[in-house]
């Protein structure tokens, strides 16, 4: 089985982990209730997509 030959340095570990980044969620404003929602997705606040009621509102 393949095993590491050398210990991974603290620097290499930290450089690798510095690339762990979270991306912000893309949001648009709902045309019905103006609350932020994901694009191409039904609004969780008012339950509409394209001004058509799809689900019951969560709130």
């Amino acid at each position: 089985m393949a095993v590491p030959k050398r210990k991974m340095s603290r620097s290499n570990t930290r450089h690798r982990r510095s690339q762990w980044k979270a991306a912000a969620v893309a949001l648009v404003s709902c045309p019905q209730c103006r609350s932020p929602r994901r694009p191409h997705t039904a609004c969780e606040t008012c339950g509409t997509y394209n001004r058509r009621q799809v689900i019951e509102p969560s709130a």
């Binding site: 191409h40 997705t41 039904a42 997509y49 799809v54 689900i55």
Partner: protein, 177 residues
């Protein structure tokens, strides 16, 4: 070589996948709309629409073919007698998938797949409106470049005239000096 089915593989085996899709189709025809994952909804749509097309033909052969997928006879009866007549004028596109975002727990993207119940007239209005808008846009584009070209020609002509006027003036100035 057979072309692989589009979309995600479901379940652990081909039999399990067929069972999942058959259960989803049965539930869709029973309730009219179901909430499931996006991957399952995307796999279910072509299957459900083919079953509805068979139900629109409505003869005993098509009913037996639907019964090989949807095992529940009462659901098949509901599909042939109540769902299929509502789609009599609709040439396909019987189901609609609306995305709902990630599920709490495993963040699986969820969707609602439903039988389209709106009348066809609304869609026809939608089709004619973009066509008119496109025609209007084309007319606007044809007019706009013509105006722009005319506007561009006019300043160029004015510049040329002024240049011609300036050169003789300089020449005359030199001759005078």
């Amino acid at each position: 070589m057979p072309k692989p089915t589009k979309g995600a593989r479901l379940g652990g085996s081909p039999a399990h996948e067929r069972l999942i899709l058959a259960n989803l189709a049965t539930q869709l025809f029973q309730h009219g709309r179901i909430r499931t994952t996006e991957a399952k909804a995307k796999r279910l749509r072509p299957l459900a629409e083919k079953l509805i097309t068979k139900a629109k033909k409505g003869d005993i052969h098509n009913r037996r073919q639907v019964l090989t997928v949807v095992r529940d006879k009462s659901v098949v009866h509901h599909l042939f007698t109540e769902i299929a007549p509502t789609f009599a004028e609709r040439p396909g596109g019987y189901t609609r998938i609306t995305k709902l975002g990630p599920r709490r727990g495993d963040a699986a993207p969820m969707a609602v797949i439903e039988l389209v119940s709106e009348p066809m007239n609304a869609v026809r209005v939608g089709r004619t409106a973009p066509a008119e808008a496109a025609e209007a846009a084309e007319q606007g584009q044809t007019e706009a470049p013509a105006q722009e070209s005319a506007a561009q020609e006019a300043p160029e002509a004015a510049v040329a005239e002024s240049a011609e006027a300036a050169v003789p003036a300089e020449g005359s100035g030199e001759t005078k000096a």
